[in-house]
């Protein structure tokens, strides 16, 4: 009957919509430029594939039942039987989903340990440590080893592990560069660590993904990945041209609002150290060397806890 026709048409319509929408240009998340994002994209595609099978099975069963057992197809005196259930049917009903879920759980656990560790392929590189802290509605990037700091833009070297230390000077935010990898929260009372790496040079979109008030929509930053040499040149240039960041200047930067790109020498970590609370949750991911770095900064933070 025509109702089934409508149903089939309906599903093909939205399948087309998805294909068209995603077909124009690769969706950011599915267009990875680093190993972490690649792992996540492959997990996403794998799960879409598996789930598509389940969806197709359910749709097919539903259409079959609706076509075969509709009242208009039965004799007027047909009395549907009383069926309680069947052990084997139930075993299959539970068993197959359990297998699928077990497989996905395995992949999921494996991925968890991959995205929470130094990016694959760059295990031997010395990670570039960047403290990314958010304030309403800006991002401050401190490069402690290079001794420079930027606002709302991030330069990174390619082919090297990146270790972002995230925290917030205000509401909870979430640091996200979709093409390099998934996001992580930046919070006021602890530092979280996000491991990323870029395989190729390029410009990427970065933003705060977690709602943080009025200026949230524009709380974005530009990411530029370049070769290590270009990165070194840039650091050198900054050191020669930029003004040092002072405590007064930094307080001014923290005022709520939006700012363009800014560049400073020195980092605010020297006079406004990151929070130290709840570090125990990060134990597996922090390297020894960087821990001692944080420790050296804990001096005046003690009083707030």
């Amino acid at each position: 009957m025509h109702k089934k026709g409508i149903k089939v048409a309906l599903f093909s319509v939205f399948l087309t919509i998805i294909t068209v929408l995603s077909g124009c240009e690769p969706l950011l998340v599915l267009d990875p430029k680093g190993p972490q994002a690649e792992r996540q994209a492959s997990d996403i595609l794998l799960s879409i594939g598996l789930m598509a099978i389940i969806v197709i099975v359910v749709f097919a069963l539903l259409v079959y039942m609706l076509v075969k057992y509709r009242a208009s197809k039965q004799k007027p005196d047909y009395e549907p039987p009383h069926i309680e259930g069947n052990l084997w049917v139930e075993v299959i009903m539970v068993g197959i989903p359990v297998l699928i879920v077990a497989f996905l759980s395995f992949v999921s656990v494996q991925s968890n340990y991959i995205v929470e560790a130094k990016p694959k392929g760059y295990e031997d590189t010395k990670p570039l440590v960047v403290y990314a802290s958010s304030s309403n509605w800006k991002w401050h990037f401190s490069y402690p080893e290079e001794g420079i700091e930027t606002v709302n833009y991030l330069y990174i070297p390619t082919n090297r592990a990146l270790e972002f230390r995230l925290y917030s000077h205000g509401p909870i935010t979430s640091f996200w560069i979709p093409q390099l990898g998934g996001q992580k929260y930046a919070m006021a009372d602890m530092v979280t660590t996000l491991h990323l790496a870029a395989d190729v040079p390029g410009e990427f979109m970065g933003r705060n993904a977690n709602f943080s008030g009025k200026g949230f929509a524009e709380n974005t930053f530009d990411v530029t990945a370049m070769s290590q040499d270009d990165f070194d040149d840039w650091v050198k240039e900054v050191k020669e041209t930029a003004k040092p960041i002072t405590e007064e200047k930094f307080e001014e930067l923290l005022e709520p609002g939006h700012l363009g790109r800014q560049t400073y020498t020195g980092t605010h970590l020297e006079f406004s150290p990151p929070p130290t609370g709840h570090n125990h949750t990060e134990e597996s991911t922090e390297t020894h060397e960087t821990e001692s770095h944080t420790d050296s900064n804990t001096g005046h933070e003690g009083m707030s806890h």
């Binding site: 069926i83 989903p97 656990v109 929470e116």
Partner: protein, 647 residues
């Protein structure tokens, strides 16, 4: 003047002034209408003081429909704002308030009362009881919910709406970043409504455990009653968590404590954790009764018994346990490390198994059936494929490493609307059509009803499927605008068109109610759908005492047994029936609660003290009151029964 300044809206706009005028005019019109038609007494005697579960149910229904449109207007404004890049229809502040209230209104003041409506109206009828265990408490539950909802809604025009999201994460919702009283409304209004919900939970657990008809063992309860029982157990475990959380939030905002603040040892992630310890079970409080409704409808219109009754019950019990073990999946990105994420990832995916069992049981219920496509059945048949889509995207989100990419994006928004709309809202609408004749004695128009289903589904697909794509393309949720360069324009425009189509669908439901009230036949039987459970065995309209003789039950389909297997439902003679008296105390106490809440929100401590005394006064009055209820005599029953049968 300073005193009055606090009541001003911090960010007034034309929409707010228009709402003020509309609210004012509506109140005047209602008062004038009641006075002109001399209905004050009727309103007081029949509705405000009622303890009848059916009437309380209908009042829940009216509130839910009202709130559905409030939340729906919020939704359509959001979609309109995002339909084109760089839109200036709403500013950031206004948009933030709207998505916050949309979430709270839809979950707590629309979906919850809708569920409460079904539990109130259906459960006592379905178990063959004459009322709930504590009728007066039930009235108090409703009025507390209602006052909480009204209190929340006036925030729009008095003092300003909350604007920190329905999850209200601190420190954004704390004094440091939300200075207006908006979040106080959130804390107090939800607290008041939540007390009502908690009492409902206790009431219905008692009702279902203690008041079933003779012969109805637990495993002979209809599936909706089972789902209501489990949902209420979840309520009793989850809602105290919410009460404590809101109290802590209130203490932080109004009494200077530091649970969630940025300094002095406050932990912002503590709010998120406790919120979701309540918040995730809350999702199942909504979806389990919805599953129950689908079970009733699918079995009725497949003209078959529900397949796999035991596994249906078992899967609900397992879901209810797992619902408390998955809360951290709402913030895999909080940095709790790979081990914690792995545990919560697995528990979350595990929920897919019992949910899958339910889907397959419904499909197998259709097998060998004789399927009739009524409006409720059509909703159910749209539910299965659409909800499956939402379910499998839930499994995708449960993969914690991949969730780093989905979290906080439109992908997530698409997912939870994809489970809540086909899952909960369709069940509510299906149930509305299904139980309408039992409530009001006439059917809703089938033709309009079926068209509505199709409109809603087409609108739903257009509105939410593009969000999966735009989320994967980097569109974060809760952004009030985006630039043209971002490339989200087309997808958001399609979403807007879909939302508009859904809006037409919802308007059609109202039109259907109007049309059917005027034109549909009043000449329907007690059992117009040829259903299987006890609620259809009594008269339409249902007499005050529900059943003149308590039914005798042998299976989970007592009425079907009576119709097909010669089972005798009603044995014996009429006896006098003990019924509870009406009481004005629940309504009055809730009104005092309203004033208490309002004063509390604005830190007006003297009225708070006075009203607190008033609340305790009401409770004391109840404690010392001697009210043993009343009896309906056999003669009265006979008269009523003859009248109803004669009709």
């Amino acid at each position: 003047m300073d005193f009055f300044d606090r009541f001003a809206v911090p960010h007034p706009s034309i929409a707010i002034y228009a709402s003020m005028a509309a609210i004012g005019l509506t109140i005047i019109a209602v008062i004038a209408g009641l006075t002109y038609f001399k209905k004050w007494g009727y309103l007081w005697r029949e509705w405000l003081t009622t303890v009848d579960h059916k009437r309380i149910g209908i009042m829940y229904l009216l509130s839910a429909l009202l709130m559905l449109f409030r939340g729906g207007v919020d939704a359509i404004m959001m979609r309109a704002q995002l339909a084109v890049p760089d839109n200036t229809l709403l500013d950031a502040q206004h948009y933030n308030e709207i998505f916050t209230t949309h979430g709270i209104v839809m979950i707590l003041f629309m979906a919850m009362p809708f569920i409460m409506f079904f539990m109130n109206f259906v459960v006592p009828l379905q178990i063959g009881a004459r009322d709930v265990a504590f009728p007066r408490l039930n009235a108090l539950s409703f009025w507390l919910f209602f006052m909480g909802a009204m209190l929340f809604n006036i925030s729009f025009v008095v003092g300003g709406s909350p604007d920190a999201g329905w999850t209200s994460y601190f420190p954004l919702a704390g004094n440091e970043f939300s200075e207006s009283v908006g979040t106080n409304y959130y804390m107090i209004a939800i607290q008041i409504a939540g007390i009502g919900t908690l009492m409902t939970g206790i009431n219905f657990i008692t009702t279902i455990l203690k008041m079933r008809a003779p012969g109805m063992t637990l495993m002979k309860m209809p599936m909706f009653t089972w789902s209501a029982l489990i949902a209420n157990v979840i309520i009793v475990f989850a809602f105290p968590v919410l009460a404590v959380l809101l109290a802590m939030g209130t203490l932080d905002r109004q009494f200077g404590t530091h649970f969630f603040t940025m300094d002095n040892g406050g932990m912002d992630m503590l709010w998120a954790n406790i919120f979701w310890v309540w918040g995730h079970p809350e999702v199942y409080i909504l979806i389990l009764p919805a599953f129950g409704i689908y079970s009733e409808i699918i079995s009725t219109f497949a003209r078959r018994n529900l397949y796999g009754y035991k596994s249906m019950v078992g899967s609900m019990v397992i879901i209810s346990l797992l619902s408390f073990l998955v809360w951290a999946h709402h913030f895999f990105t909080m940095g709790q490390g790979a081990l914690t994420n792995s545990i919560f990832s697995i528990t979350t995916m595990a929920i897919a198994v019992p949910t899958g069992v339910k889907i397959f049981n419904w499909l197998l219920t259709l097998r060998k059936g004789k399927i009739v496509f009524t409006t409720p059945m059509l909703y159910s048949m749209h539910f299965i494929p659409l909800f499956t889509l939402g379910g499998v995207t839930g499994v995708m989100l449960a993969m914690s490493a991949a969730d780093y990419q989905y979290h906080n994006t439109m992908f997530l928004v698409a997912h939870f609307h994809n489970v809540i709309i086909p899952g909960v809202v369709y069940a509510m609408l299906a149930g509305l059509h299904y139980y309408w004749p039992k409530m009001f004695g006439f059917m809703l128009n089938e033709k309009i009803g079926k068209r509505t289903v199709w409109l809603l589904s087409i609108g739903f697909i257009l509105a939410f499927m593009p969000m999966y794509a735009s989320g994967l393309d980097g569109q974060a949720r809760r952004m009030y605008t985006y630039s043209e360069a971002a490339g989200f324009g087309l997808m958001n425009m399609i979403s807007f068109v879909g939302a508009a189509i859904m809006a037409i669908g919802f308007v059609l439901i109202v039109y259907n109610i109007y049309f059917s009230t005027r034109y549909e036949s009043r000449d329907i039987s007690n059992d117009p759908w040829d259903a299987r459970t006890l609620e259809w065995s009594t008269h339409t309209p249902v007499p005050e005492y529900n059943f003149a003789i308590l039914p005798d039950v042998e299976s989970n389909e007592a009425l079907w047994d009576a119709k097909k297997n010669g089972h005798v439902l009603f044995k014996g003679d009429y006896e006098k029936i003990h019924m509870p008296n009406n009481s004005g105390i629940p309504f009055i106490m809730s009104c005092i609660f309203f004033v208490w809440g309002f004063s509390f929100i604005f830190s007006l401590w003297i009225p708070v003290i006075v009203t607190t005394l008033g609340i305790f006064g009401c409770m004391a009055l109840r404690s010392f009151e001697q009210d043993h209820g009343r009896y309906i005599s056999v003669k009265e029953i006979e008269e009523t029964e003859t009248n109803l049968r004669g009709a």
